[in-house]
Point group: C2
Chain length 350, copies 2
């Protein structure tokens, strides 16, 4: 089984390598070849996978001879090239928003709608990070109690803008601490000690695309267009891990204890909800964790029988790399991807 | 007219001095004596007001001979001493939560319910910062359209924990930037590059006291106990100025244009709402500004005819010092405080 990463040198690419290595070690995804691709600027650089050095190649403008391609090279690259990459039979799991809203492209969070991945026609979309993190907590609640309305306010880390975003936060914070004035390039305004309620472009309805993605993608993943969602997406000066305050109006009333019980067995979720013990979701504890932390579960004060909760999930993991690898694992576990020649990496480079 | 500040050396005390000086210069609050008080630890220090040096005295355990006392020394000090301070006829405008929920203590935001201040019995409460900032934007909407439900998620600065809170953020951020591990004292967890959904103590219902304050105080200031409010209060790594994402369910439907028009003439509000021009509320622009910035005004996607908006207000100003001085100005303008002997400061120290 051959795996390719397109965009191997970016922040998500870096996480894809780590998640793939762990998945292989644990026998979850079996593959015997890993190909790495990036832009001409990064091509030729060497990356280490499972102790072996691999050379990054230029992203091809034609077929990629792999079984699964994990793409994280941005929407314009995927839009232009994904259909060419898959000409020899590969499936692309694409991290960009290029194909998410296409009717014939499954948008998949394995814990929620893994089976949709099996109906792909060559391309599977990985959801927006904010959506992926929210939906692992909300989908089990929707299944049991029916979510009618959902209000989301996000606390999004600079990792959402990739390594350059995190670098800008660190560098510009350093500038401010030394009495200087922060500049900005990756973000619309200076980010140190600031809050920017503007992520992605504004739509005609006054919402940003990032905010609308949460509605569009949650509806598609959960498979319920009647679910109403209002989101406010806000960039804050953290490095990685997005947090979200979520208020849910439910069709069937639920108590916090019932929700806590329900989520304690939900896949991809860690209930971290002990106010007395000062335990609740935070970037400090959720960073580099596969599970999404869910806590502050309490009765809504605006919806009878509704629930308020708070989630923190690593944007680079469940919000990107981890979810993509989990889709590949799901496909393989259901016989929809090539099997492994051996559990060890044999041929390591194209 | 004699003004006293209790807690003069704290972060809010510092802002009170600056706001008072400006108010006097602009002829808004007329007074001819300023007394400064603080804990024994800070007593004896010198502070400059309008070019004159004043000595900080120890907060008395008895009457303060002033007309108005602006107190920002914490709830326990106010609880223990406020009734003694006013024995000679002064009125206390108290920044702590000690008296906010007492039936005979007015809780006042001058733009919203200034007239309530005139009914005081010696003590007037200044609201919680988060509430004060939200209510200047929400009250005009409530008056015209009737707010039925309000969902608030906060982005609260470290200034909410005073100067020590801001110092901890700066110092510990420096530690992290130099490869160290952040420690914490003022906050429940390390604050650099983190998000802490825990401000003030937890209540039995799973909400923090900070979150409940927004409900209790908004209801009291607006004078409508039927208004339902769910809040998630979150500390983030910013220095000053709180931001809040607010979703409103309205009794009478409103359009974003109508709300923008309404708020454009509302006292204490600056509509900053031009997505194309990248203008929306942010700590970067709202810090040290008297008006609360309101923007991102858009149609709610969960409530028919409802509104989503975003506010940023300086926690130390409208959320504390400015509101207190505005209450004093309101009292004086309505003949409920001593007049000025002269617009200039004559006797400067007790």
């Amino acid at each position: 089984m051959r795996v390719a990463i397109v965009g191997a040198t970016g922040a998500v690419g870096h996480e894809l390598m780590a998640v793939l290595e762990k998945s292989q070690q644990e026998g979850k995804l079996k593959f015997d070849e890993l190909q790495l691709y990036a832009s001409p600027r990064s091509a030729g650089s060497k990356l280490t996978f499972a102790g072996k050095e691999l050379t990054v190649q230029v992203t091809p403008d034609g077929p990629i001879d792999a079984d699964v391609i994990l793409a994280s090279a941005g929407g314009s690259v995927s839009k232009a090239l994904a259909h060419k990459w898959i000409q020899n039979g590969a499936v692309v799991i694409d991290n960009s928003s290029a194909f998410r809203y296409d009717a014939d492209v499954p948008l998949v969070v394995p814990e929620v709608n893994g089976e949709a991945a099996l109906r792909h026609k060559g391309i599977i979309a990985n959801p927006n990070c904010t959506t992926a993190i929210a939906v692992v907590a909300v989908a089990p609640i929707h299944r049991k109690y029916g979510v009618k309305r959902m209000i989301v306010s996000t606390y999004q880390a600079t990792s959402g803008a990739g390594q350059k975003g995190m670098d800008e936060l660190l560098e510009q914070t350093h500038v401010v601490l030394h009495g200087g004035e922060a500049s900005h390039k990756e973000f619309v305004h200076p980010i140190p000690f600031n809050v920017i309620p503007h992520i992605d472009v504004f739509q005609d309805n006054g919402y940003t695309k990032e905010e609308m993605k949460v509605q569009w993608e949650t509806q598609k993943i959960i498979g319920d267009d009647s679910l109403k969602i209002s989101c406010t997406a806000v960039r804050i000066p953290t490095l990685r891990t997005h947090s979200e305050a979520i208020t849910l109006d439910l069709a069937k009333p639920a108590t916090p204890a019932e929700i806590r019980e329900l989520l304690s067995t939900a896949a991809g979720v860690e209930v971290r909800d002990d106010p007395e013990g000062k335990l609740y979701p935070m970037p400090l504890t959720a960073t580099r964790k596969y599970d999404v932390e869910v806590g502050r579960i309490r009765e809504s004060l605006v919806f009878d029988g509704g629930i308020d909760l708070f989630v923190s999930g690593d944007q680079l993991l469940k919000g990107a790399a981890l979810n993509a690898v989990q889709i590949a694992e799901y496909l393989q576990a259901h016989g929809a991807l090539g099997g492994a020649v051996s559990p060890q990496l044999s041929a390591v480079s194209p």
